[in-house]
Amino acid sequence: MQLAEAFVRHQAELFRYAARFTGDADLAEDVVQDVFVRLAERPPRDETQLRAWLFRVTTTIAIDAQRSSRRRLSLVQARASSVPVAQAAPDPAESVEREELRGRVREALATLSEKERAVLLMREEGFAHREIAEAVGTTTGSVGTMFARALEKLARRLDLDAEDAR
């Protein structure tokens, strides 16, 4: 597959994953671009595994980028209102509520370890446990456990067990 074709096909989902992983859309954009430079430099040997390879590299680069820009990240986290709005809400109250929710989700994800976050978010992108295990460097058997543990942590912070949770 040509590089441009791979970019068109995968950039949106990689951006979504990186933005969720880092909590920073600007950083996520840089991460995705770095991923495709890496693809040009050192493409995977098995092209049938390209999507898993892209997410694995995104995870690695996102972790490195996040560690090297902690100061920037903390500034972004401190300014919850600076996070881009998903879509223009006609109702200001709804907009505020959405922003508040976004901040809570981001903070909750930030409490997870990098491995837990990768497991949770890669599963969200539809990957099999085997592929997730390869990406985060663990066994297939422990992926389910890590996923359940991560959900348990988020459930407390985000009220996922509440009857009216949506």
Binding site: A25, P43, V105, L160
Partner: protein, 216 residues
């Protein structure tokens, strides 16, 4: 132990988290492929490959020069003596035939890739197609200075050689190509799949030669 209730709880939480994530995602951005950075990266790769080729040629060439060959042989003998503690005749490896690279070109691979050779060569010569892990095609002329021009076009590479050329041509192609079309003069084009790891295709360019061999 995992119970049915546990599974149900995990599934319910996962479903609710999916909804939350979708509601709070950053808006999609019109990302742009970093073409300039990728081009720089590919140039760096090409430069590394050329440096490696130049070093290999230098070593091969130096081994062909008697004083250097003698020095290598002495060094090997000395090393052998220091290991074994005794004098022993060591036969230095036969020097590789000096190879002259007279032209090289690298370009983004179209798929399918077409390679046209203008003429068969009276004195022989080969076109060798090998696999590379990069994304570019690289081509090099070996064995004779000014033997041919390498012309890159939208569908691939044209080797404009002379009937009297004695050069060989080495083309390295990315692994992901679906087809490689080789046409010598106006003969029927030959179509190859992209070589697997370790494979290479050799096309004999001699005037009276048989066409193609696939080597492992």
């Amino acid at each position: 132990m995992t119970t049915f209730d546990d599974v149900e709880v995990v599934q319910r939480r996962a479903g609710r988290l999916s909804l939350l994530l979708a509601r709070t995602d950053a808006p999609p951005r019109p990302l742009v492929l970093p073409v300039a950075r990728i081009a720089r990266a590919e140039r760096r790769l090409a430069v590394r490959w050329r440096i490696a080729a130049a070093v290999a040629l230098l070593i091969a060439g130096a081994a062909g020069v008697p004083p250097v060959r003698a020095w290598i042989a002495d060094t090997v003998r000395a090393a052998w003596r220091s290991v074994t503690g005794r004098h022993q005749a060591v036969v230095p490896p036969a020097p590789a035939a000096p190879t002259v690279t007279t032209g090289a070109v690298s370009f983004a691979a179209p798929d399918p890739l077409t390679i046209r050779i203008a003429r068969r060569q009276t004195a022989g010569g080969t076109l060798t197609i090998e696999r590379t892990d990069g994304l570019s095609v690289s081509a090099a002329v070996t064995g004779e200075a000014n033997a041919a021009e390498l012309v890159v076009g939208p569908e691939g590479l044209r080797i404009v050689n002379r009937r009297a050329s004695t050069a060989g041509y080495v083309i390295r192609v990315p692994a992901g190509l679906s087809r490689i079309v080789v046409q010598v003069e106006q003969e029927r084009p030959r179509i190859f799949g992209s070589p697997a790891a370790g494979d290479r295709y050799v096309v004999d360019l001699g005037v009276r030669s048989a066409p193609v061999q696939a080597l492992k």
